[in-house]
Protein backbone atom coordinates (compact mmCIF):
# COMPACT_ATOMS: atom_id res chain seq x y z
CA UNK A 1 0.00 0.00 0.00
CA UNK A 2 2.77 2.38 0.90
CA UNK A 3 4.38 1.73 -2.47
CA UNK A 4 1.16 2.53 -4.27
CA UNK A 5 0.89 5.81 -2.39
CA UNK A 6 4.48 6.79 -3.07
CA UNK A 7 4.28 5.83 -6.74
CA UNK A 8 1.16 7.94 -7.05
CA UNK A 9 3.01 10.84 -5.43
CA UNK A 10 5.72 10.49 -8.07
CA UNK A 11 3.05 10.52 -10.78
CA UNK A 12 1.52 13.63 -9.21
CA UNK A 13 4.91 15.35 -9.12
CA UNK A 14 5.43 14.54 -12.82
CA UNK A 15 2.02 16.00 -13.62
CA UNK A 16 2.95 19.17 -11.73
CA UNK A 17 6.20 19.48 -13.66
CA UNK A 18 4.47 19.08 -17.02
CA UNK A 19 1.66 21.35 -15.87
CA UNK A 20 4.03 24.18 -15.03
CA UNK A 21 5.99 23.61 -18.22
CA UNK A 22 2.85 23.79 -20.33
CA UNK A 23 1.62 26.89 -18.52
CA UNK A 24 4.55 28.69 -20.11
CA UNK A 25 3.12 28.39 -23.61
CA UNK A 26 -0.09 30.00 -24.79
CA UNK A 27 -1.32 27.05 -26.85
CA UNK A 28 -0.84 24.46 -24.09
CA UNK A 29 -1.44 26.55 -20.99
CA UNK A 30 -5.01 25.49 -20.33
CA UNK A 31 -4.19 21.81 -20.73
CA UNK A 32 -1.18 22.25 -18.47
CA UNK A 33 -3.35 23.67 -15.73
CA UNK A 34 -5.74 20.73 -16.09
CA UNK A 35 -2.86 18.26 -15.92
CA UNK A 36 -1.59 19.78 -12.73
CA UNK A 37 -5.09 19.70 -11.23
CA UNK A 38 -5.26 15.96 -12.03
CA UNK A 39 -1.96 15.60 -10.24
CA UNK A 40 -3.42 17.32 -7.21
CA UNK A 41 -6.55 15.17 -7.26
CA UNK A 42 -4.41 12.05 -7.48
CA UNK A 43 -2.23 13.13 -4.56
CA UNK A 44 -5.28 13.87 -2.40
CA UNK A 45 -7.09 10.63 -3.26
CA UNK A 46 -4.16 8.33 -2.48
CA UNK A 47 -3.52 10.25 0.73
CA UNK A 48 -7.03 9.31 1.82
CA UNK A 49 -5.93 5.65 1.76
CA UNK A 50 -3.76 6.20 4.84
CA UNK A 51 -4.85 4.34 7.98
CA UNK A 52 -6.56 5.82 11.04
CA UNK A 53 -7.91 8.87 9.26
CA UNK A 54 -10.89 10.67 10.72
CA UNK A 55 -12.94 10.66 7.52
CA UNK A 56 -15.89 12.61 8.89
CA UNK A 57 -13.71 15.61 9.65
CA UNK A 58 -11.59 15.29 6.51
CA UNK A 59 -14.44 14.97 4.03
CA UNK A 60 -16.27 17.78 5.76
CA UNK A 61 -13.23 20.03 5.50
CA UNK A 62 -12.61 19.13 1.86
CA UNK A 63 -16.22 19.82 0.97
CA UNK A 64 -16.27 23.13 2.83
CA UNK A 65 -13.01 24.30 1.28
CA UNK A 66 -14.06 23.23 -2.21
CA UNK A 67 -17.36 25.06 -1.90
CA UNK A 68 -15.71 28.29 -0.77
CA UNK A 69 -13.02 28.06 -3.45
CA UNK A 70 -15.60 27.26 -6.12
CA UNK A 71 -17.84 30.21 -5.30
CA UNK A 72 -14.92 32.64 -4.99
CA UNK A 73 -13.46 31.55 -8.34
CA UNK A 74 -16.81 31.77 -10.11
CA UNK A 75 -17.84 35.10 -8.73
CA UNK A 76 -14.66 37.13 -8.97
CA UNK A 77 -14.53 39.94 -11.50
CA UNK A 78 -11.42 39.97 -13.65
CA UNK A 79 -10.55 43.38 -12.20
CA UNK A 80 -10.53 41.76 -8.75
CA UNK A 81 -8.07 39.07 -9.80
CA UNK A 82 -4.95 40.41 -8.04
CA UNK A 83 -6.80 40.52 -4.71
CA UNK A 84 -8.14 37.01 -5.11
CA UNK A 85 -4.76 35.54 -6.03
CA UNK A 86 -3.27 37.25 -2.97
CA UNK A 87 -6.05 35.90 -0.77
CA UNK A 88 -5.73 32.29 -2.03
CA UNK A 89 -2.01 32.55 -1.56
CA UNK A 90 -2.45 33.68 2.03
CA UNK A 91 -4.72 30.73 2.77
CA UNK A 92 -2.10 28.34 1.39
CA UNK A 93 0.50 29.88 3.67
CA UNK A 94 -1.72 29.66 6.73
CA UNK A 95 -2.52 26.03 5.90
CA UNK A 96 1.19 25.18 5.91
CA UNK A 97 1.62 26.98 9.23
CA UNK A 98 -1.24 24.94 10.68
CA UNK A 99 0.20 21.67 9.37
CA UNK A 100 3.40 22.43 11.26
CA UNK A 101 1.47 23.41 14.39
CA UNK A 102 -0.85 20.38 14.25
CA UNK A 103 2.07 18.01 13.91
CA UNK A 104 3.77 19.50 16.96
CA UNK A 105 0.56 19.60 18.96
CA UNK A 106 0.02 15.90 18.28
CA UNK A 107 3.52 14.96 19.40
CA UNK A 108 3.19 17.26 22.40
CA UNK A 109 -0.15 15.79 23.44
CA UNK A 110 1.17 12.25 23.11
CA UNK A 111 4.12 13.01 25.30
CA UNK A 112 2.55 15.19 27.97
CA UNK A 113 -1.06 14.15 27.86
CA UNK A 114 -1.74 10.68 29.12
CA UNK A 115 -0.40 8.17 31.58
CA UNK A 116 1.36 6.72 28.58
CA UNK A 117 3.27 9.94 28.30
CA UNK A 118 6.06 8.99 30.61
CA UNK A 119 6.52 5.65 28.92
CA UNK A 120 6.63 7.32 25.53
CA UNK A 121 9.12 9.83 26.75
CA UNK A 122 11.30 7.14 28.24
CA UNK A 123 11.36 5.12 25.05
CA UNK A 124 11.83 8.19 22.90
CA UNK A 125 9.11 7.32 20.41
CA UNK A 126 7.17 10.25 18.96
CA UNK A 127 9.62 12.69 20.52
CA UNK A 128 10.34 15.72 18.37
CA UNK A 129 13.93 15.61 17.13
CA UNK A 130 15.95 18.71 16.41
CA UNK A 131 15.57 18.51 12.65
CA UNK A 132 11.80 18.22 12.89
CA UNK A 133 11.79 21.12 15.32
CA UNK A 134 13.80 23.30 12.92
CA UNK A 135 11.63 22.58 9.91
CA UNK A 136 8.51 23.10 12.04
CA UNK A 137 9.80 26.57 12.88
CA UNK A 138 10.50 27.17 9.17
CA UNK A 139 7.05 26.02 8.08
CA UNK A 140 5.47 28.28 10.67
CA UNK A 141 7.74 31.21 9.92
CA UNK A 142 7.34 31.13 6.13
CA UNK A 143 3.68 30.18 6.29
CA UNK A 144 2.96 32.96 8.80
CA UNK A 145 4.74 35.63 6.77
CA UNK A 146 2.96 34.43 3.63
CA UNK A 147 -0.40 34.59 5.37
CA UNK A 148 -0.34 38.07 6.88
CA UNK A 149 1.77 39.45 4.03
CA UNK A 150 -0.80 38.24 1.52
CA UNK A 151 -3.70 39.49 3.60
CA UNK A 152 -2.06 42.91 3.87
CA UNK A 153 -1.40 42.89 0.11
CA UNK A 154 -5.03 41.92 -0.43
CA UNK A 155 -6.08 44.89 1.71
CA UNK A 156 -3.88 47.23 -0.31
CA UNK A 157 -5.03 45.88 -3.66
CA UNK A 158 -8.70 46.10 -2.79
CA UNK A 159 -8.18 49.63 -1.47
CA UNK A 160 -9.19 48.69 2.07
CA UNK A 161 -5.84 49.66 3.52
CA UNK A 162 -4.85 52.37 1.05
CA UNK A 163 -2.47 51.64 -1.79
CA UNK A 164 0.40 53.88 -0.71
CA UNK A 165 3.52 52.77 1.04
CA UNK A 166 3.28 53.25 4.79
CA UNK A 167 6.44 54.08 6.66
CA UNK A 168 7.13 55.12 10.23
CA UNK A 169 10.35 56.10 11.97
CA UNK A 170 12.45 53.13 13.00
CA UNK A 171 10.44 50.79 10.79
CA UNK A 172 13.46 48.88 9.55
CA UNK A 173 14.84 48.53 13.08
CA UNK A 174 11.45 47.33 14.26
CA UNK A 175 11.23 44.72 11.50
CA UNK A 176 14.79 43.63 12.24
CA UNK A 177 13.82 43.22 15.90
CA UNK A 178 10.86 41.07 14.88
CA UNK A 179 13.15 38.93 12.75
CA UNK A 180 15.66 38.60 15.59
CA UNK A 181 12.83 37.68 17.93
CA UNK A 182 11.77 34.90 15.57
CA UNK A 183 15.32 33.58 15.33
CA UNK A 184 15.72 33.72 19.13
CA UNK A 185 12.44 32.01 19.99
CA UNK A 186 12.93 29.58 17.12
CA UNK A 187 16.31 28.48 18.44
CA UNK A 188 14.98 28.25 21.99
CA UNK A 189 12.22 26.00 20.69
CA UNK A 190 14.48 23.83 18.57
CA UNK A 191 16.93 23.24 21.44
CA UNK A 192 14.28 21.66 23.62
CA UNK A 193 11.03 21.24 21.68
CA UNK A 194 9.38 18.92 24.20
CA UNK A 195 10.50 20.77 27.32
CA UNK A 196 8.35 23.08 29.37
CA UNK A 197 9.21 26.16 27.31
CA UNK A 198 8.69 24.36 23.99
CA UNK A 199 5.07 25.28 23.49
CA UNK A 200 5.28 28.94 24.62
CA UNK A 201 8.28 29.44 22.34
CA UNK A 202 6.43 27.98 19.36
CA UNK A 203 3.46 30.24 20.05
CA UNK A 204 5.87 33.17 20.14
CA UNK A 205 7.29 32.15 16.76
CA UNK A 206 3.77 32.03 15.33
CA UNK A 207 2.81 35.46 16.69
CA UNK A 208 6.06 37.14 15.65
CA UNK A 209 5.94 35.61 12.15
CA UNK A 210 2.40 36.82 11.64
CA UNK A 211 3.43 40.31 12.76
CA UNK A 212 6.49 40.33 10.50
CA UNK A 213 4.44 39.42 7.41
CA UNK A 214 2.18 42.44 7.83
CA UNK A 215 4.95 44.87 8.77
CA UNK A 216 7.15 43.73 5.89
CA UNK A 217 4.50 44.46 3.26
CA UNK A 218 3.44 47.75 4.87
CA UNK A 219 6.22 49.95 3.41
CA UNK A 220 5.75 48.62 -0.13
CA UNK A 221 3.65 50.77 -2.44
CA UNK A 222 0.90 49.66 -4.80
CA UNK A 223 3.03 49.89 -7.95
CA UNK A 224 5.49 47.38 -6.56
CA UNK A 225 2.73 44.84 -5.90
CA UNK A 226 3.62 42.64 -8.91
CA UNK A 227 6.94 41.90 -7.19
CA UNK A 228 5.37 41.35 -3.77
CA UNK A 229 2.65 39.05 -5.04
CA UNK A 230 5.02 36.84 -6.97
CA UNK A 231 7.41 36.73 -4.02
CA UNK A 232 4.62 35.75 -1.64
CA UNK A 233 3.58 33.10 -4.15
CA UNK A 234 7.09 31.73 -4.01
CA UNK A 235 6.96 31.77 -0.19
CA UNK A 236 3.71 29.80 -0.06
CA UNK A 237 5.48 27.09 -2.05
CA UNK A 238 8.45 27.08 0.29
CA UNK A 239 6.10 26.91 3.29
CA UNK A 240 4.47 23.82 1.80
CA UNK A 241 7.92 22.37 1.21
CA UNK A 242 8.91 23.01 4.84
CA UNK A 243 5.67 21.36 5.98
CA UNK A 244 6.71 18.44 3.81
CA UNK A 245 9.96 18.16 5.75
CA UNK A 246 8.02 18.19 9.02
CA UNK A 247 5.98 15.15 8.08
CA UNK A 248 8.62 13.59 5.80
CA UNK A 249 6.42 13.68 2.73
CA UNK A 250 8.01 13.71 -0.73
CA UNK A 251 5.21 15.20 -2.76
CA UNK A 252 4.93 18.24 -0.49
CA UNK A 253 8.66 18.84 -0.71
CA UNK A 254 8.82 18.52 -4.48
CA UNK A 255 5.65 20.44 -5.38
CA UNK A 256 6.33 23.16 -2.83
CA UNK A 257 9.87 23.59 -4.01
CA UNK A 258 8.81 23.77 -7.67
CA UNK A 259 6.44 26.58 -6.81
CA UNK A 260 9.06 28.28 -4.65
CA UNK A 261 11.63 28.24 -7.43
CA UNK A 262 9.30 29.26 -10.24
CA UNK A 263 7.84 32.03 -8.09
CA UNK A 264 11.31 33.33 -7.40
CA UNK A 265 12.10 33.44 -11.13
CA UNK A 266 8.95 35.43 -11.77
CA UNK A 267 9.91 37.80 -8.95
CA UNK A 268 13.32 38.37 -10.53
CA UNK A 269 11.69 39.04 -13.92
CA UNK A 270 9.45 41.67 -12.28
CA UNK A 271 12.41 43.33 -10.57
CA UNK A 272 14.37 43.43 -13.82
CA UNK A 273 11.41 45.05 -15.54
CA UNK A 274 11.77 47.90 -13.06
CA UNK A 275 15.57 47.90 -13.07
CA UNK A 276 15.57 47.51 -9.31
CA UNK A 277 16.86 44.88 -6.97
CA UNK A 278 14.56 42.82 -4.82
CA UNK A 279 16.14 44.36 -1.73
CA UNK A 280 15.34 47.83 -3.03
CA UNK A 281 11.72 46.89 -3.72
CA UNK A 282 11.25 45.32 -0.30
CA UNK A 283 12.99 47.81 1.93
CA UNK A 284 13.20 51.21 0.27
CA UNK A 285 9.67 52.41 0.97
CA UNK A 286 9.59 53.56 -2.66
CA UNK A 287 6.64 55.77 -3.41
CA UNK A 288 6.02 56.70 0.22
CA UNK A 289 6.79 60.33 -0.38
CA UNK A 290 6.79 62.39 -3.54
CA UNK A 291 10.40 62.37 -4.60
CA UNK A 292 11.98 65.42 -6.09
CA UNK A 293 13.58 65.03 -9.46
CA UNK A 294 16.18 67.64 -10.35
CA UNK A 295 14.88 68.02 -13.87
CA UNK A 296 11.60 69.75 -13.16
CA UNK A 297 9.68 70.01 -16.36
CA UNK A 298 8.99 73.42 -17.77
CA UNK A 299 6.63 72.46 -20.57
CA UNK A 300 2.92 72.94 -20.31
CA UNK A 301 0.17 70.38 -20.49
CA UNK A 302 -1.78 70.62 -23.73
CA UNK A 303 -5.33 69.35 -23.44
CA UNK A 304 -7.24 68.16 -26.49
CA UNK A 305 -10.96 67.69 -26.99
CA UNK A 306 -12.44 64.30 -27.81
CA UNK A 307 -13.51 65.63 -31.18
CA UNK A 308 -10.02 66.70 -32.23
CA UNK A 309 -8.65 63.43 -30.90
CA UNK A 310 -11.13 61.61 -33.08
CA UNK A 311 -9.95 63.40 -36.24
CA UNK A 312 -6.36 62.43 -35.53
CA UNK A 313 -7.29 58.82 -34.81
CA UNK A 314 -9.47 58.68 -37.91
CA UNK A 315 -6.46 59.51 -40.06
CA UNK A 316 -4.06 57.21 -38.19
CA UNK A 317 -2.68 54.13 -39.90
CA UNK A 318 -1.01 52.65 -36.84
CA UNK A 319 -2.18 52.92 -33.24
CA UNK A 320 -0.68 51.48 -30.08
CA UNK A 321 -2.61 51.40 -26.82
CA UNK A 322 -0.48 51.44 -23.66
CA UNK A 323 -2.63 50.43 -20.70
CA UNK A 324 -1.78 50.82 -17.02
CA UNK A 325 -3.39 50.39 -13.64
CA UNK A 326 -5.67 53.35 -14.38
CA UNK A 327 -7.42 51.30 -17.05
CA UNK A 328 -8.20 48.62 -14.47
CA UNK A 329 -9.50 51.21 -11.99
CA UNK A 330 -11.77 52.80 -14.59
CA UNK A 331 -12.77 49.34 -15.90
CA UNK A 332 -12.23 50.78 -19.37
CA UNK A 333 -11.05 47.55 -21.05
CA UNK A 334 -14.32 46.83 -22.87
CA UNK A 335 -14.58 50.37 -24.23
CA UNK A 336 -10.91 50.20 -25.29
CA UNK A 337 -11.52 46.99 -27.18
CA UNK A 338 -14.50 48.55 -28.97
CA UNK A 339 -12.37 51.51 -30.00
CA UNK A 340 -9.69 49.09 -31.19
CA UNK A 341 -12.18 47.24 -33.40
CA UNK A 342 -13.47 50.48 -34.93
CA UNK A 343 -9.91 51.56 -35.67
CA UNK A 344 -9.19 48.21 -37.29
CA UNK A 345 -12.30 48.50 -39.45
CA UNK A 346 -10.97 51.90 -40.41
CA UNK A 347 -7.90 50.20 -41.87
CA UNK A 348 -5.59 50.98 -39.00
CA UNK A 349 -3.02 48.61 -37.52
CA UNK A 350 -3.98 48.06 -33.91
CA UNK A 351 -1.64 46.88 -31.16
CA UNK A 352 -1.53 46.86 -27.38
CA UNK A 353 1.86 47.42 -25.79
CA UNK A 354 2.07 45.90 -22.35
CA UNK A 355 4.80 46.67 -19.86
CA UNK A 356 5.75 43.70 -17.66
CA UNK A 357 4.91 45.57 -14.46
CA UNK A 358 1.85 47.48 -15.66
CA UNK A 359 -0.94 46.97 -13.16
CA UNK A 360 -0.85 45.31 -9.78
CA UNK A 361 0.20 41.77 -10.55
CA UNK A 362 2.36 40.12 -13.20
CA UNK A 363 0.43 40.07 -16.47
CA UNK A 364 -2.49 42.04 -15.02
CA UNK A 365 -3.23 43.99 -18.22
CA UNK A 366 -3.21 40.87 -20.38
CA UNK A 367 -5.92 39.32 -18.25
CA UNK A 368 -8.13 42.40 -18.44
CA UNK A 369 -7.76 42.79 -22.21
CA UNK A 370 -8.27 39.08 -22.78
CA UNK A 371 -11.47 39.33 -20.76
CA UNK A 372 -12.62 42.09 -23.12
CA UNK A 373 -11.97 39.71 -26.07
CA UNK A 374 -8.97 41.52 -27.44
CA UNK A 375 -7.26 39.02 -29.78
CA UNK A 376 -4.18 37.47 -28.21
CA UNK A 377 -2.01 38.41 -31.23
CA UNK A 378 -2.56 42.12 -30.69
CA UNK A 379 -1.07 42.01 -27.19
CA UNK A 380 2.59 42.90 -27.66
CA UNK A 381 5.49 42.88 -25.27
CA UNK A 382 7.52 46.00 -24.63
CA UNK A 383 10.56 44.78 -26.59
CA UNK A 384 8.46 44.06 -29.66
CA UNK A 385 6.88 47.50 -29.78
CA UNK A 386 9.79 49.78 -28.96
CA UNK A 387 11.82 49.19 -32.17
CA UNK A 388 8.89 50.28 -34.34
CA UNK A 389 7.40 52.96 -32.09
CA UNK A 390 8.63 55.79 -34.33
CA UNK A 391 6.36 54.52 -37.10
CA UNK A 392 3.32 54.64 -34.85
CA UNK A 393 0.92 57.45 -35.66
CA UNK A 394 -0.84 57.57 -32.32
CA UNK A 395 0.14 56.04 -28.99
CA UNK A 396 -2.76 56.08 -26.54
CA UNK A 397 -1.61 55.91 -22.92
CA UNK A 398 -4.50 54.81 -20.74
CA UNK A 399 -3.90 55.12 -17.04
CA UNK A 400 -0.19 54.28 -17.30
CA UNK A 401 2.44 56.63 -15.93
CA UNK A 402 5.84 55.48 -14.71
CA UNK A 403 6.13 52.79 -17.40
CA UNK A 404 6.08 55.49 -20.11
CA UNK A 405 8.06 58.16 -18.24
CA UNK A 406 10.92 59.32 -20.51
CA UNK A 407 12.91 60.28 -17.39
CA UNK A 408 13.71 56.58 -17.06
CA UNK A 409 15.58 56.81 -20.35
CA UNK A 410 16.88 60.41 -20.31
CA UNK A 411 17.22 61.78 -16.80
CA UNK A 412 20.12 60.23 -14.93
CA UNK A 413 19.09 61.88 -11.67
CA UNK A 414 15.65 60.31 -11.75
CA UNK A 415 14.98 57.55 -9.20
CA UNK A 416 13.57 55.39 -11.97
CA UNK A 417 16.49 56.04 -14.35
CA UNK A 418 17.39 52.84 -16.18
CA UNK A 419 13.99 51.21 -15.87
CA UNK A 420 12.95 49.88 -19.27
CA UNK A 421 9.92 51.79 -20.54
CA UNK A 422 7.59 51.74 -23.50
CA UNK A 423 8.91 54.67 -25.50
CA UNK A 424 5.59 56.37 -26.13
CA UNK A 425 7.33 59.75 -26.37
CA UNK A 426 8.84 58.62 -29.71
CA UNK A 427 5.47 58.09 -31.37
CA UNK A 428 4.29 60.74 -33.83
CA UNK A 429 1.44 61.73 -31.55
CA UNK A 430 0.72 60.58 -28.00
CA UNK A 431 -2.62 60.83 -26.24
CA UNK A 432 -2.55 60.53 -22.49
CA UNK A 433 -5.81 59.64 -20.79
CA UNK A 434 -5.67 60.78 -17.22
CA UNK A 435 -8.09 61.57 -14.45
CA UNK A 436 -6.27 64.59 -13.13
CA UNK A 437 -2.93 66.28 -13.09
CA UNK A 438 -1.46 64.24 -10.21
CA UNK A 439 1.81 62.33 -10.32
CA UNK A 440 2.09 58.57 -10.74
CA UNK A 441 2.74 55.91 -8.14
CA UNK A 442 6.40 56.90 -7.77
CA UNK A 443 5.35 60.51 -7.20
CA UNK A 444 7.51 61.60 -10.12
CA UNK A 445 6.84 64.32 -12.61
CA UNK A 446 6.23 62.69 -15.99
CA UNK A 447 7.85 64.66 -18.81
CA UNK A 448 5.87 62.67 -21.37
CA UNK A 449 2.81 64.71 -20.44
CA UNK A 450 4.53 67.97 -21.34
CA UNK A 451 6.29 66.67 -24.45
CA UNK A 452 5.57 68.66 -27.65
CA UNK A 453 3.74 65.84 -29.40
CA UNK A 454 1.62 64.87 -26.39
CA UNK A 455 -2.02 65.81 -25.95
CA UNK A 456 -3.88 65.26 -22.70
CA UNK A 457 -7.37 63.80 -22.60
CA UNK A 458 -8.63 64.52 -19.11
CA UNK A 459 -11.44 62.67 -17.43
CA UNK A 460 -12.47 59.15 -16.52
CA UNK A 461 -10.75 56.77 -18.94
CA UNK A 462 -13.87 54.77 -19.61
CA UNK A 463 -15.96 57.87 -20.35
CA UNK A 464 -13.25 59.31 -22.60
CA UNK A 465 -12.86 56.15 -24.64
CA UNK A 466 -16.61 55.68 -24.90
CA UNK A 467 -16.77 59.27 -26.15
CA UNK A 468 -14.27 58.47 -28.90
CA UNK A 469 -16.23 55.35 -29.82
CA UNK A 470 -19.40 57.44 -30.15
CA UNK A 471 -17.60 59.92 -32.41
CA UNK A 472 -16.56 57.02 -34.67
CA UNK A 473 -20.04 55.57 -34.80
CA UNK A 474 -21.74 58.91 -35.50
CA UNK A 475 -19.57 59.76 -38.45
Amino acid sequence: MEHLVNLSYIAAAILFVFGIKMLGNASTARKGNQLSSFGMALAVVVTLLASDLNYALIVGALALGSAIGFVAAKRVQMTGMPELVALFNGFGGLASLLVGAAEYQRAHATINGSLLGKVVEATGIEAVDTFTAVVTVLAILIGGITFTGSIYAWGKLSGKLGGRALTFPGQKAFNALLALGIIGTGIAFALDPTGSIGYPMLIAVIVLSLALGAFAVMPIGGGDMPVVISLLNSCSGLAASAAGFVIGNNVLIVAGCLVGASGLILTVIMCKAMNRTLVNVLFSGFGATAQQSSGTSTGELKPISAEDAYYILEAAKSVVVIPGYGMAVAQAQHAVKELGELLEDNGCEMRYAIHPVAGRMPGHMNVLLAEADVPYEQLCEMDDVNPTIEMVDVAIVIGANDVVNPAAANDESSPIYGMPIIEAYKAKTTFCLKRGKGAGFSGLENTLFTAPNTRMLYGDAKATVTGLVTQFKDS
Binding site: L23, L57, I68, L84, S236, A240, L258, S262, P362
Partner: protein, 92 residues
Amino acid sequence: MDLTLLLFIFVLAAFLGFELIAKVPSQLHTPLMSGSNAISGITVVGAILAVKTTADTASAWIGFAAIVLATINVVGGYMVTDRMLGMFKKKK
Protein backbone atom coordinates in the same frame (compact mmCIF):
# COMPACT_ATOMS: atom_id res chain seq x y z
CA MET B 1 12.65 8.90 5.59
CA ASP B 2 16.33 9.62 5.35
CA LEU B 3 17.01 13.28 5.94
CA THR B 4 19.71 13.69 3.31
CA LEU B 5 17.49 12.01 0.75
CA LEU B 6 14.76 14.57 1.45
CA LEU B 7 17.22 17.43 1.08
CA PHE B 8 18.51 15.86 -2.12
CA ILE B 9 14.97 15.83 -3.53
CA PHE B 10 14.48 19.43 -2.42
CA VAL B 11 17.60 20.68 -4.20
CA LEU B 12 16.81 18.85 -7.43
CA ALA B 13 13.26 20.18 -7.41
CA ALA B 14 14.58 23.71 -6.94
CA PHE B 15 16.78 23.45 -10.02
CA LEU B 16 13.94 21.94 -11.99
CA GLY B 17 11.66 24.80 -10.95
CA PHE B 18 14.21 27.39 -12.07
CA GLU B 19 14.66 25.68 -15.44
CA LEU B 20 10.96 25.21 -16.10
CA ILE B 21 10.01 28.82 -16.55
CA ALA B 22 13.16 30.41 -17.83
CA LYS B 23 11.29 31.87 -20.81
CA VAL B 24 7.64 32.56 -20.33
CA PRO B 25 5.90 35.28 -22.36
CA SER B 26 4.68 38.05 -20.09
CA GLN B 27 1.14 37.47 -21.33
CA LEU B 28 1.11 34.29 -19.31
CA HIS B 29 2.54 35.62 -16.07
CA THR B 30 -0.79 35.84 -14.27
CA PRO B 31 -2.02 32.34 -15.16
CA LEU B 32 1.42 30.93 -14.40
CA MET B 33 1.39 32.56 -11.01
CA SER B 34 -2.13 31.55 -10.06
CA GLY B 35 -1.62 28.06 -11.48
CA SER B 36 1.53 27.50 -9.47
CA ASN B 37 -0.21 29.09 -6.50
CA ALA B 38 -2.80 26.31 -6.72
CA ILE B 39 0.02 23.75 -6.66
CA SER B 40 1.31 25.21 -3.40
CA GLY B 41 -1.99 24.04 -1.94
CA ILE B 42 -0.37 20.56 -1.97
CA THR B 43 0.00 21.19 1.74
CA VAL B 44 -3.56 19.79 1.86
CA VAL B 45 -1.92 16.36 1.79
CA GLY B 46 -0.06 17.18 4.98
CA ALA B 47 -3.22 18.58 6.51
CA ILE B 48 -5.18 15.39 5.75
CA LEU B 49 -2.51 13.28 7.40
CA ALA B 50 -2.82 15.39 10.56
CA VAL B 51 -6.48 14.53 11.03
CA LYS B 52 -6.22 11.03 12.46
CA THR B 53 -8.60 9.21 14.76
CA THR B 54 -5.63 8.64 17.05
CA ALA B 55 -4.82 12.35 17.21
CA ASP B 56 -5.90 14.53 20.11
CA THR B 57 -8.83 16.89 19.63
CA ALA B 58 -6.76 20.05 19.32
CA SER B 59 -4.47 18.79 16.56
CA ALA B 60 -7.40 17.26 14.70
CA TRP B 61 -9.19 20.60 14.59
CA ILE B 62 -6.04 22.47 13.63
CA GLY B 63 -5.73 19.95 10.81
CA PHE B 64 -9.36 20.50 9.90
CA ALA B 65 -8.76 24.24 9.52
CA ALA B 66 -5.63 23.52 7.47
CA ILE B 67 -7.57 21.26 5.09
CA VAL B 68 -10.28 23.88 4.58
CA LEU B 69 -7.76 26.65 3.83
CA ALA B 70 -5.58 24.52 1.57
CA THR B 71 -8.61 23.25 -0.33
CA ILE B 72 -9.79 26.82 -0.95
CA ASN B 73 -6.31 27.50 -2.31
CA VAL B 74 -6.34 24.41 -4.53
CA VAL B 75 -9.89 24.48 -5.89
CA GLY B 76 -10.11 28.25 -6.21
CA GLY B 77 -6.64 28.53 -7.71
CA TYR B 78 -7.17 25.92 -10.42
CA MET B 79 -10.61 27.19 -11.33
CA VAL B 80 -9.65 30.81 -11.57
CA THR B 81 -6.61 29.91 -13.69
CA ASP B 82 -8.78 27.88 -16.00
CA ARG B 83 -11.23 30.75 -16.29
CA MET B 84 -8.47 33.17 -17.21
CA LEU B 85 -6.89 30.85 -19.75
CA GLY B 86 -10.30 30.29 -21.31
CA MET B 87 -10.33 33.99 -22.16
CA PHE B 88 -6.99 33.98 -23.95
CA LYS B 89 -8.43 33.30 -27.36
CA LYS B 90 -6.85 33.36 -30.76
CA LYS B 91 -8.43 35.66 -33.29
CA LYS B 92 -11.35 34.01 -35.04
